[in-house]
């Protein structure tokens, strides 16, 4: 008999000569993008293609400022424009076929853009294409590529409030043309959920440790689950279907390892499986199981959610340095790319996901 559990098989890897901050699959292809910072302080975009067991470099593009994050979330499948956030607080959208001049460009923030997400593109979800950026200046801004210079939504601290770094942002609940939420995680452990339809703060909580990464299990459905990872090895899974008036959303939390959990990414083909990457160079594959009843009534009759349980399917240590970025391929189940601070990008295949 073979091995029963899903295995993480290393398929290809490439040593890079620059610091890698983000890596993303180009949709509908076997190509991937690496975004980072060259030693001389400029930004670097590299396009690789998976050939045999190797990565072949197709293009290398250099830009003025180091690039921290990128997303394809807001473009159509034909165009496949990349939106990037860089160290200078600039948001750019690039056409990779003609990358000399950005298609859209704005100095969105005063400080580095830590995280970016896009929705409304790639045939996923409904509504206008929008991009959200979270920055060290404590603000979260939502942009529409059709509107120049000003964001369509701006979540900023009250006047006089000392700002906290926003470390991560994610879109969710985009199941029709009007509905959309943005979830943002901050360095003091705050998680805030903004409703863009009503332009208000819908929920907030604090998980004590800085929030490194948040992600909804699907952007384009009625909010189902939200995973938030933090420093000191903890992550929380919130059940977003039932919001209690005072207690908010039910959650289950797990302490996977001693080091920071840098990223969480849900498998595009199965929303109950997600992978977390850690500060000790490890990857953990988790499966969420729903409880028998997802909601129950509390003593006053208000509905409150019931959180399920999380089980570890597999874990593997690939590097001694933190794995800071992770992306599943939307086209091939189990194919994923991860980038670590040891300047290596690795392509992995997770097997047996059908049998989970």
């Amino acid at each position: 008999s073979g091995l029963e559990r899903p295995q993480v098989v290393s398929h290809a890897q490439q040593a890079l000569s620059y610091t890698l901050f983000d890596c993303k699959w180009v949709p509908r292809s076997a190509r991937l993008l690496c975004l980072g910072s060259a030693p001389r302080g400029t930004g670097l975009l590299q396009l690789y293609e998976l050939r045999g067991g190797r990565l072949a470099l197709l293009r290398e593009i250099e830009k003025a400022k180091p690039i921290k994050c990128g997303t394809f979330g807001a473009t159509s499948l034909q165009q496949r424009y990349l939106a990037t956030g860089d160290f200078g607080g600039n948001l750019h959208i690039w056409n990779l076929e003609a990358p000399e001049i950005p298609v859209y460009s704005v100095k969105g923030h005063k400080e580095i853009i830590n995280s970016i997400d896009g929705v409304g593109g790639l045939g996923i979800g409904e509504g206008a294409p929008e991009i959200v950026t979270g920055s060290r200046d404590g603000t979260v801004k939502v942009w529409d590529p059709r509107q120049k210079d000003t964001p369509v939504a701006n979540m900023e601290p009250v006047q006089g409030e000392s700002k906290r770094d926003c470390w991560t942002v994610a879109f969710g609940n985009a199941y029709n043309q009007e509905e959309r939420v943005v979830c943002a995680g901050y360095d003091n452990g705050d998680i805030k959920l903004f409703d863009l339809k009503t332009m208000s703060l819908r929920w907030e909580t604090n998980i004590k440790n800085g929030v490194c990464s948040v992600e909804f299990d699907r952007k384009d459905v009625n909010m189902n689950k939200l995973v938030a990872t933090s420093l000191e090895g903890k992550f929380h899974v919130f059940d977003m279907r039932t919001q209690h008036p005072t207690k908010g959303f039910a959650s289950v939390s797990e302490k996977a390892q001693k080091s920071t959990i840098w990223q969480v990414r849900h498998l595009p083909q199965n929303r109950d499986i997600f992978m977390t990457s850690g500060g000790a160079g490890s990857l953990h594959l988790w499966k969420y199981e729903y409880p028998t009843q997802r909601s129950k009534k509390d003593s006053e009759g208000a509905e409150m959610g019931v959180a399920g349980s999380v089980s570890l399917l597999q874990n593997v240590t690939l590097s001694t340095q933190p794995i800071s970025s992770l992306d599943w391929s939307p086209d091939k189940k189990g194919l994923c790319v991860c980038g670590a601070f040891d300047q290596t990008v690795r392509v992995l295949i997770v097997t047996k996901l059908n049998k989970v």
Partner: protein, 423 residues
């Protein structure tokens, strides 16, 4: 003097000697029997039997059977021959002695050799066991590795297949695009003025690429003034949401907090509140309230506010006697002394307060500023302006935005410069 046992009987064959030694009523154990290749001794104090054998025997294989008040020796001869007698005939004392010693030595050596041999075999056994386990583990590991390799290869093949599919699909798409572009250009030429709302076929995210035509969805550039905008909602109207961040007792996030120091400060405060000084004998006739340092502090504060400084000092004194670890008592008493112009006492109390206000955390900043300012004022009133200036500057370091402190510090500086010019 041992009692010699001389009654024994023996008989022999070509290769062995059979000796039986009666020991009526004596308990014999193997320890009492000592035998080397030419010397046999049975010693059960005070009885002794000794024999220097005629010829050497093979003492490892020879046996002694103990039972029924008799020892039966079976001694195998080294050389097959018939012995004339059991023992050597002419044996004088010295020869006997030397023979005995030799025998003992030989026995020792033999014992040593045996232990050595035992050790060696033990080692070998251990090594063998270890190697065997290692082999087993290797095998196990290899089996897992092989399984993993197989998975890898299978998966790699699948991936290659998928990739080829992608490539082909891409090529198809490109050809198709060019065809479409052609068509579109022609169409536009025809329908320049009409705005035709063509419905687009939504592209679903499946892993197989679609070769269906996507007419009307030809977006060649985000800003092309085409029909796309009517299918998507307009950009939403700009709005701002104001947010607050969670506050904490100490305004630093968990990762930034100097937790150790802050914990220490909190602990010190808690302890301070709990200490009650020992000499309660005089205080027994006080009311319950008057034994509570906090209550006394409040009283003191009230009296200070009304201007009754002596009473305030009394209250603080009593409070200090009850609990001498609360920095605020000293701080407030210093203020009273200032008002009463007991400047030295004011300086003493401010210093004591500053001592108690360690470790330096943001929580006790206010208290420290006040302590420095009060001490500074006292120094200045005593005309010790340099010391006063030092304290004011310390206060300013903690709270740089305080205008009054700044102004006062300036004044003192002028005074100092004024006096130095005079003298």
């Amino acid at each position: 003097m041992p009692v010699w046992l001389r009654e024994y009987s023996w008989r022999q064959t070509g290769s062995a000697v059979y000796l039986s030694l009666p020991l009526r009523g004596l308990r014999v154990t193997p320890a009492n029997i000592f035998c080397t290749d030419q010397y046999l001794k049975v010693s059960i104090p005070p009885f002794l039997f000794e024999a220097i054998l005629y010829a050497p025997i093979d003492d490892t294989n020879s046996t002694a059977k103990i039972g029924n008040g008799i020892i039966f020796f079976t001694l195998y001869k080294k050389e097959v021959a018939m012995w004339e007698s059991l023992t050597l005939a002419n044996a004088n004392k010295e020869k006997l002695q030397s023979l005995r010693e030799n025998a003992v030595l030989k026995a020792h050596e033999k014992a040593k050799e045996e232990t050595e041999a035992k050790k060696v075999t033990k080692q070998e056994h251990k090594k063998y066991a270890l190697e065997a386990t290692m082999k087993l583990e290797e095998a196990e590991r290899k089996r897992i590795e092989d399984l993993k390799e197989k998975e890898r290869q299978k998966v790699t093949k699948e991936l290659e297949l998928w990739r080829k599919q992608q490539k082909d699909a891409e090529k198809q798409k490109r050809i198709q695009k060019e065809g479409e572009l052609h068509e579109k250009v022609e169409q536009l030429k025809e329908n320049k003025k009409e705005k035709i709302n063509k419905t687009s076929i939504p592209d679903e995210g499946t892993s197989k690429t679609r070769l269906k035509a996507t007419k009307g969805h030809g977006s060649y550039g985000m800003f092309s003034e085409n029909l796309k905008e009517e299918q998507l909602p307009a950009p939403r109207s700009a709005a701002t949401i104001k947010i607050n961040f969670t506050s904490r007792v100490f305004p630093t996030a968990l990762r930034e907090s100097r937790i150790a120091e802050e914990e220490e400060w909190l602990r010190k405060q808690a302890e301070a509140r709990r200490t009650i000084s020992a000499d309660l004998s005089e205080l027994e006739d006080l009311k319950e309230d008057e034994k509570n340092p906090d209550w006394l502090k409040d009283k003191g504060n009230k009296m200070f506010a009304t201007g009754n400084y002596l009473a305030a000092v009394n209250a603080y004194n009593l409070a200090v006697r009850l609990n001498n670890k609360l920095p605020l008592l000293y701080l407030n008493r210093a203020a009273c002394h200032l008002k009463l112009r007991n400047l030295h006492k004011a300086i003493e109390d401010s210093s004591k307060a500053l001592e108690l206000l360690t470790p330096l955390v943001p929580d006790n900043e206010n208290a420290r500023v006040k302590a420095y300012v009060r001490r500074g004022t006292a120094f200045c009133q005593l005309e010790l302006y340099t010391e006063g200036l030092q304290d004011y500057e310390a206060a300013l370091k903690i709270d740089p935005k305080n205008r009054t402190i700044e102004k006062d510090a300036e004044k003192i500086r002028h005074l100092i410069q004024g006096t130095t010019q005079d003298s």
